[in-house]
Each structure stands twice: as structure tokens, then as C-alpha cells.
Amino acid sequence: MPYLGSEDAVRELRRALSNPNVQSDQLRYRNTVLKAIRAMSQGVDVSDLFSEMVKACATVDIVQKKLVYVFLCSYATLNPELSLLVINTLRKDCQDPNPMVRSLALRNMTNLRLPSLVEYVEQPLAAGLRDRAACVRRVAVLGWAKLHNLQPDAEIDAAVVNELYGLLRDPDPVVMVNCLRALEEILKKEGGVAINKPITHHLLNRLKESDVWGQCEVLRILQRYHPQSEDELFDILSLLDASLVSPHPPVMAATLGLFLGLCSGLPAVSLAALERVRGPLLAACGSTSRETRFTALCHIQLLLRSLPGLMGAHYKRFFCGYAEPAYIKQRKMQVLVELVNDENVAMLLDELKGYCTDVNPETAQAAISAIGRIGRSYSDRCLEILTGLLGLKQEHITSAVVQTMCDLVWVCPQCSDTVCSALEGCEEMLQDSQGRQALLWLLAAYGERVSSAPYTLEGFIDRVRSEASLGVKMELLTTTMRLFLCRPSETQDMLGRLLHYCIEEEMDMCVRDQALLYYRLLHCGIEETHKVLHGQRSDPSLGVLIGRPAEPINQWAYSFNTLEPLRQAGVETEPASRGSPEHVTFDPKPNTDLSDTLNCSQIEKLGTPISGQLLPFFFAEPLKFHQVGWGASVHSHFQISPEMFNRVQVRALAGPLKDIHRVVPKPLLCYLGCVLRFVVLLEDEPSPQSEVQSALEHVFIQDVSVHCCIHLSLNPD
């Protein structure tokens, strides 16, 4: 009971509303209605007053009418029978000489949202389309769309559709735009309103008359039109030129979207259009509304994909202000990284350095990884800053720096000396699992050069019992193995301890499995182990990053002026995880809470890998599943000998086995000349080996041999 005494209040209101003295005094009557509305907005359930309110509706006082309508629309669904009474009043109001009353009645009639009332509403709506007042027509046109939404399966009345098409020529621009909106909704199944040449030209000629919102709408719908000749195309473009530099960001964005759509076959024209919107876009970046700034930034990122030099001279516009929200700062840094060149690199790095100590840890991390990205082209300067940051002894900064170094070394092996010397003594500052994973990976790759590596590892192994993160444990196993290969005398003892712990005591299947695998590998002899475990330290294919190649505009034109570029994971994950080693992300929370339609495109995009990028998805309770573990040695035709055994991917298979291709992304394997170990968690009873194998072979490419073994889960339930 959130509101004590609400029943009393309702009773009081009802008494007042039905009191003839109140009813005869217009002012008192209206104030009582007002009180009821106020109570409603405070959350009191006043639906019992419905019948009194229906009576109050029959008044000449337009204010009272408005108030009552608000009430009726909110509670109509609860009282469908009584709503019939309302309809009569509303229909009477539709005949009122005052156009304002007519439009009000019509609007509320369609807002009642009761399918049972549709038959009574149709006639006044049809009359409304032919009303002499524009404001009534505006409402009537949209009314048809609302009716259609009420009964989406009902037959579409061709006469109404024709009439709506006719009203596209209405003298009032709002009626015209509303017609477009209504037709879009009504004809959704047929692909929206039909756009032909006369309609297009009519809409374009009247574009200037409508307001900002209407212009956006028209421009969006015109994207469906394909001009018949080049002359026509250029006529349209020159007509739209003024809106392209419109001071209203929504109009500018909609026009550019239309431009890009129309000129998809003319890249030179599209590029010229991008140049032209630079000014308005930059202005939107300086807008007082932070949301507009953010959206403009996201769209600039899109544009930079095709025209990397577009904003070169304006890099200072992307410096962050102190009070800007984190999401803007992070986007600005992403843009800054794209704009770096020989002249401004010192200035940019100086600025980014300032952001590394930001109060918000996420912003600080973004700044550090931005420096790391610039480091691919200007490694010396960046490493200097990064090692300087380690001196601050801040947990989150150290973690971010180590992760960044890890990424950097993978791309620029020449940095390894500096990185190795910087690593000493930073393990005490690392608290989060990602930072420790990165440190372990670095120790594995450059263990022989870091003198304190065995001691660091020993510390990790001593604490392995209390280690919560699966990723760290897996990484620890691989690192100890690899360090053992280059410094056997120092590490032999601790490797033994670690393997013993992982095989005998560890509860996690993946860790245990991995440890067993290494154990057996060691049995095969040191030569074999070396062959398998000696992995790459860097990715030669990436090399020094000298600016991104310009993408064709068509790659992103479809997502311009939509919500896609604004998504969190949209652009930034791609460069962030590009080429980084397998420590990437151990996402403890699978993205299953997002719907399929919204999400799958994202996964696909991430799954198009640049070599070595894996996406481990780990599900919270693996022991619940029966488990199939298998090592697939993949010999692609690029390299014959298996090189690496440290890439592990864990995936859960939720569906039946035939869906396995959804779990194992195919293109991933084309790039790997190595042994890949996959752990697939199965929910079903483990099927015969041959079935699994055939399913897997179906997925993999021809020149791949698959070795498959099935482990039963330790404690199936």
C-alpha cells in the first residue's frame, strides 16, 4: 500500500464530481477534475472514477475536456464497456465548429486503443481526412496508422491508402509528412510507402516547407528511391546541397545518409560530400548537448574509415575537457589515435598522457591503450610514457600498461627489450585477472630475458590455490611450461608442483585437462614439447602500423545515421583486440542477455579474425555439462609443422551436435598454422566419437586433420 488513504481520496473525489452544485459551477468542476488528474499522476488508482469522468467529458470548457481526455486515455483499457459512452461524446465533438475541438476529439478517439471501438472511429476519421482545417487532417492521417497498429492483421482498406497517397499533395507540409509516416506504418508488410519519380520530385520540392523533423523523415524515406538517369541524380543532389550543410545536425545527417545511398556507384561524389559535411559535423562535436557531441563523434569515426585525413588539421577539436563524461572522452581518444601524424604526435601524446591519470579508471585505461596504439607507429616515445606510468604504482594503471605492452610487443617485437626491463617488480601492483594474464603471457614469451621471471612465477604458483580466475590459471600453466623449456633448472621444481596441483586437486575441468595434456606432452620428450610449445612472440604479418588503409564508403554507408555506430562494442573492440595474443578477453558473462537479432551481427564481425584472435566464451558452470575435449591439429597448407599449443578456446554447445558449426567459427582456422585445442562443452549425452568427428570435419576445411577425444565429465549430474 504505497498511498495510505487513497481510497478515501477517491471517494472524496467521486462525491465532489457527482455533486450537482459542483457540476453547475464550471470553475469548481474543472478544479475537481484537475485534482483527479493530479492524483492519477501521483500513482493513486483513480480508475473507479471512470463513469463520473465520462460525464464530465460533456462540457463546453475545452480545458476540462483536455483533462478528461488525459484521464480517459489512461484508463480506457480497464473499462472497455464504459468507453463506448465516451465514443459518443467524442463523435459529437468531431462535429464541433472549433477545429481545435475536432482535432482534439479525433486524436483522443484514436488514443483510446480499444480494438472494440474501431468500427465507431473509422467514420469520423474518414471525415477528418477531408476536413478543411489542416490540424484536423494532421491528426486524422496519423489516426489511420494508429488504427492499423491496433489490428495489424486486418485487411488494409485500399480506399484509405489511396486517399492518403492523395493527401501527399496537401497544402499543409505537416499533413504531407504525416501521410508518409502513416503509409510507412500501414504498408510495412509491403515494404513501406511506394516511392516513384513524381512523388520523389514532389517531396523534394516541398522539403524546405516542412520543419526539421519532417525534413528528416522525408530524407530517410527517399533513400529508397533510385534515380533513373544520371541527370536526374545530379538534379537531386544539387537540390539537396543546402540541407547537406544544414545547421541542424539531424537534417545534415539524414541528407548525408541519402547522398551516400544515391551515390553508392560514384565514390568520388560521395567523398566530396564527406568533405562538405566536415564543417557541420565538427560544429556538432562542439554542441552544448553532450549526447549530440557523442553521436557526432561516433559518426566521425565512421567517416574516418574512408577518409583518414578528413580531420587531420582539426585534431585539437578532439581534446577532452575536464568535465566531459567518460563515454565522450573514450570516443575522442579513439578519434585522436586515428589522427596521429609526424607533426602532431608529440602534442597528442602529451595530451593523452594527461588523461592516463583520470579519476575514472576506464578512461585511464582507454588513454593508456590509445598510447599503445600510437606506439605501433611511434614506439620509442610511447614506451617512454608507458614505463613512466608504471612508476606511479597505481593498480589500475599498472594493469592497463602491462596489457598495452603485451599488445604492443605482439605487433612490434623491437620493443621487447624495454618492455622486459620494465616488467620487473610490477607484479605486486597487479590485482585484476586481465593484467596478471598479460604479465604471464609476457613472461612466457620473453622469460629468458627477464631475470626475475622464475621468482614471479613461483609467487603465482604458491597462490594458485586461492586463484579465482580461470584465465590466469590456464595462462600460468602455459607460461610455466614455456619457461621450463628455456630455463629448466630454475623452473623444474615449480612446474612439478603446479602440474601436480592442477591434475590432482583442481576442480575446473579445463585447467585439469590442459595440465594433463602438458603432462602427456612432457612424456613424449623434450624435443616434441619444444616443437609444440615454442610459439610465436609476435605477429610478423601486422608489422608497423602506418595508418589504416581507406575503406570504401559502401562498407559503412548502410549504418550511417543509425544507432549502429553508437553501440559500445561497435568500433572499438575491433582495433583493441586486433592482433593481440590469446590473453584477450575472458568474458565471464556471456552476451546471451542480448537478443539474437541485435547481437549476432556483432559476433560475426568480431569473429572475422586477424590472425591469432580468439574469442573465448566461458560459461559459468562448465561442470554441469558433459564434456568433450578434443585437440585438433590443424595443418593448413601454409605451414606444415605444428607450432603452438597455447591457444585454447572453450565453447559451450547448447544445441544438438549438428549445430556445431555455429560454435566453431570456420574462418578462424584458416589463419592458424598451429595446433588448436578446442574444448566444446556438450549438454547431450556424449555421442560416439565418429559422430563428433564427422560433425567437426564438416566444419573444418579439407586439408585439416582432426584428432578428437572425448572425456566424460568428472561429476555429471
Binding site: 493530479r38 499522476s41 482545417a133 545536425p249 557523442f294 575514472n360
Partner: protein
């Protein structure tokens, strides 16, 4: 397009909701609250969130979140701009856009939202038209209303909606015909340790207050229109005339409106009205630091700098400040770690100075992040870009209007980056000085 709107306050209560299509349950906002929990600062919630069936597009204005629920793919700028328009309208109607004011005027707010959107599409958003439909509440009017029984809702159709000039109502009559223009400029600048400009730009706006009878046609011309780049106009301005002659020609809306926004940047060097000499240092030994700030006039175009105020975001470890100011007074807001020094008028003969000791939390490491100085100021009667209105002419009506132009310069995002002095020599020097003071 826009399905529903929720208004949410900083503590996370939904205090108003409006649905234009079917009713969407409150629970959709949980995704927003989740993101808000995660964010360090409530303002850090990203403007677009994705839920399984909807998108949530949020705009943050004056400690309120305007959260719109959208079911299909929409142009984001469109929705964001519209939500800001809603907030602007509330501001326009009630003087401010805050929770208490909206709650007080909840009925008007519902009426406004009803008029602004129909079936999720923007309907009437022009302030002039809306004010004809629903009159803004004023104290006088509410008194009159209660006495006479008239209302704040117009009972005739707004004439503007039918005329060819949608922003102006017909048959306006005034006894005093006046047209006032305020040129307001804000300096957005970042200056580095040595005082050189890292980034500077001027955001200008011309606010107009026009009360003229009939259907006047105004022409406003500038002495130096070439200064302006990135202009954006009220829809009443004839863009063709601006492009060809660089004059503003328009039939004004009735009442207050924003005539144009502009930026001045890149080509023209921006005058920085004040300079700051500052040093903030923290000692290697002992939990304290030292602060010394002096402010002086630089390029003020011969006018006095007023309402000068310095805001410093201190490192987390700073507990208190024991300072002396030669002018004005200072406060240290401990929970937010903000030091505010309110100076007032800047006297070029006697420069204001603030210095003293900052005490740190015992045992905390020496703060590393350099505090930055945010400056607030105001200069009357000058537009810092040098923009000047040369003349205002009126056509179409016979009377002589009273005309006036006012210039104001303010600081927008005006920020000095601090030099953090960690040089060993300086530190030891200050330490010695400090010991000198404490021992004698």
C-alpha cells in the same frame, strides 16, 4: 518512432512517464539503472543502450534523465535533438527544468507532451505555437485564472499554424515597440602549463527579444561578418540573403528566441582575457602541499573582468586547505574535492592572489594527477571575438521601433592545466621555506 518517455531523477526514481503507443512497463528502465550503477558518475551513462526489444536513448539535462524508448532503428541525432527540444520547452515554460518544477506543473507537462508528439512523431515543437496552445503558467496568470475561471489553455486555434509564417502569430499589437539583441559569447579554451593556448574557440549566440506590432521584416547587419564560421540560424532567417550579402534578414517570431548560434575558431586567434600564474606542489615528505595562484588581466579590450571565479578539482588525497586570499573568499568542498575561489571584479592595479597550505590525508601517496583550474568570468559590453552589429533596419511597418544591442562575454569551458612541480630543487627549496616558517 518515440514509443515512450520516462523522466528519471539522479537518485533513480521514475517520476513521470508518457506513452504514445502501447504502454511499456517500467522494467525497461532497469537496463538503464544497471548501466547507471556501473558508471562512476551518473553522467557517464552512455546515451544509447540496447535491450532485447528496445533501444533506450537518454539525454541528461539539469540532473534529470530524459529516457526515451524506441522500438525500431532510428536516426540517433533526431531523437536526441527532439529530447533536448522537450527539455528546452520545459525550461521555456517553467523557467527551469527540474524535478520539483515538473512535478508542480505535471498537468501542463502532460498537455505539452501530448501536443509535441502524436503516435511517436513530432507534431508541434515550435515554442511560439505551443505557447498559443498551452499558455505558460505565471503567478499573475494563475491568480487571474482562479479569480476569473479562465484557463492557461488557448481556446482558439493558433493562427500561426495556418499562416505562411509558422513561427509568428498574426495580429500582434504592442504599445511600445522594441527589439533587443543580446550577443553572448563563451570562450572555450584549454591553456597549458606555460600559458600557451592549446585550444581555443568562441561559441556565440544572439538572443533576441522582439516585441513589434504587425508583420515586421528586419535586417540585421554586422561590421565584420567574416569572423563567423559554422553559423546556425533560427528557421526565420533567410539563408540565401546570408550567403549572398552576409546580413540577417528575417520576420521575427514574437517574443524571446535564439536568432543564431555561431563559432569563431581556427582562422582568428582567440583573445584570452586573463592569465594565471600558478603553482601547486606536494611535498615528497609530509602530508601537505602548497598552492599559490595569481590572476591578472590579459586581453580584455579595455573592459573590466567581473564575476571572476576559479574552480580547482583537487586530487583525492587533499583533506583541507588553509589559504589566504587577497581578494574574495574561498571554500573547499570536501566531498567533491573542489576548491572554489570567488574573486569578483578583477582589479588590474592589485592582482588577486591565493596562497597557502593544502593538507593531505596522512599516509596517502603523493597525488599524481595534476589539478586543473576552471575559470568562470564575465565581461560586459564586449564580444571577445570583436563581432559588432552595425545596424538594424525594419521594413513592412510604419512605426519607429526602439532598438538595442548588448554584448556579454563569458567563460565557457575555460581551463588552465596546472604545472605540477616535482623538480627536486624546487621541492627542497619549498621544504626549507616551510621549515623556516614553522620553526620561527
Amino acid at each position: 518512432m518515440i514509443h515512450s518517455l520516462f523522466l528519471i531523477n539522479h537518485s533513480g526514481d521514475i517520476f513521470l512517464e508518457k506513452h504514445w503507443k502501447s504502454v511499456i512497463s517500467h522494467s525497461v528502465c532497469d537496463y538503464f539503472f544497471e548501466a547507471k550503477e556501473k558508471a562512476v558518475d551518473p553522467e557517464d551513462v552512455p546515451p544509447v543502450l540496447q535491450t532485447p526489444h528496445h533501444y533506450l536513448i537518454t539525454v541528461h539535462r539539469g540532473k534529470l534523465f530524459f529516457l526515451s524508448v524506441v522500438q525500431t532503428e532510428v536516426p540517433p541525432l533526431f531523437v536526441i535533438e527532439f529530447l533536448h527540444r522537450v527539455a528546452d520547452t520545459f525550461q521555456d515554460y517553467f523557467g527551469e527544468c527540474s524535478e520539483s518544477v515538473i512535478k508542480d506543473n505535471v498537468v501542463t507537462v502532460y498537455e505539452l507532451l501530448e501536443e509535441m508528439l502524436d503516435n511517436g512523431f513530432p507534431l508541434a515543437t515550435e515554442s511560439n505555437v505551443l505557447k498559443e496552445l498551452i499558455r505558460p503558467p505565471t503567478i499573475l496568470r494563475s491568480v487571474v485564472n482562479t479569480l476569473t475561471g479562465s484557463s492557461n489553455v488557448g481556446d482558439t486555434l493558433p493562427t500561426g499554424q495556418l499562416s505562411t509564417i509558422p513561427w509568428r502569430r498574426a495580429d500582434v499589437k504592442y504599445t511600445n515597440n522594441e527589439a533587443y539583441f543580446d550577443v553572448i559569447e563563451e570562450i572555450d579554451a584549454i591553456l597549458d602549463k606555460s600559458g600557451t593556448t592549446v585550444f581555443a574557440e568562441i561559441q556565440g549566440v544572439i538572443e533576441a527579444s522582439v516585441r513589434l506590432t504587425g508583420m515586421p521584416d528586419l535586417t540585421l547587419s554586422f561590421m565584420n561578418p567574416r569572423l563567423l564560421d559554422d553559423v546556425s540560424f533560427h528557421p526565420c532567417v533567410r539563408f540565401k540573403r546570408w550567403e549572398s550579402e552576409r546580413t540577417l534578414s528575417f520576420i521575427p517570431p514574437d517574443g524571446n528566441f535564439t536568432l543564431m548560434n555561431y563559432h569563431v575558431s581556427s582562422q582568428n586567434p582567440v583573445a584570452i582575457p586573463v592569465y594565471v600564474k600558478q603553482s601547486i606542489s606536494f611535498f615528497e615528505s609530509g602530508p601537505c602541499g602548497r598552492l599559490d595562484i595569481t590572476i591578472g588581466p590579459k586581453q580584455t579590450m579595455g573592459k573590466t573582468v567581473e564575476a571572476l571565479m576559479v574552480k580547482i578539482h583537487m586530487p583525492k588525497a587533499v583533506l583541507s586547505a588553509n589559504l589566504t586570499a587577497t581578494q574574495g573568499n574561498y571554500t573547499y568542498d570536501l566531498p567533491n574535492k573542489v576548491l572554489v575561489w570567488d574573486i569578483g571584479k578583477l582589479n588590474p592595479q592589485k592582482l588577486p592572489n591565493l596562497k597557502g597550505i593544502l593538507s593531505l590525508q596522512a599516509g596517502a601517496p603523493k597525488p599524481e594527477d595534476n589539478p586543473s583550474l576552471n575559470i568562470d568570468l564575465r565581461i560586459q559590453q564586449v564580444a571577445i571575438s570583436g563581432l559588432k552589429v552595425s545596424r538594424l533596419e525594419m521594413f513592412g511597418e510604419k512605426y519607429k521601433p526602439f532598438k538595442g544591442v548588448k554584448y556579454v562575454t563569458k567563460a565557457g569551458k575555460f581551463q588552465f592545466k596546472c604545472a605540477a612541480l616535482y623538480e627536486p630543487f624546487l621541492l627542497s627549496f619549498w621544504t626549507i621555506l616551510f621549515f623556516y616558517f614553522t620553526t620561527f
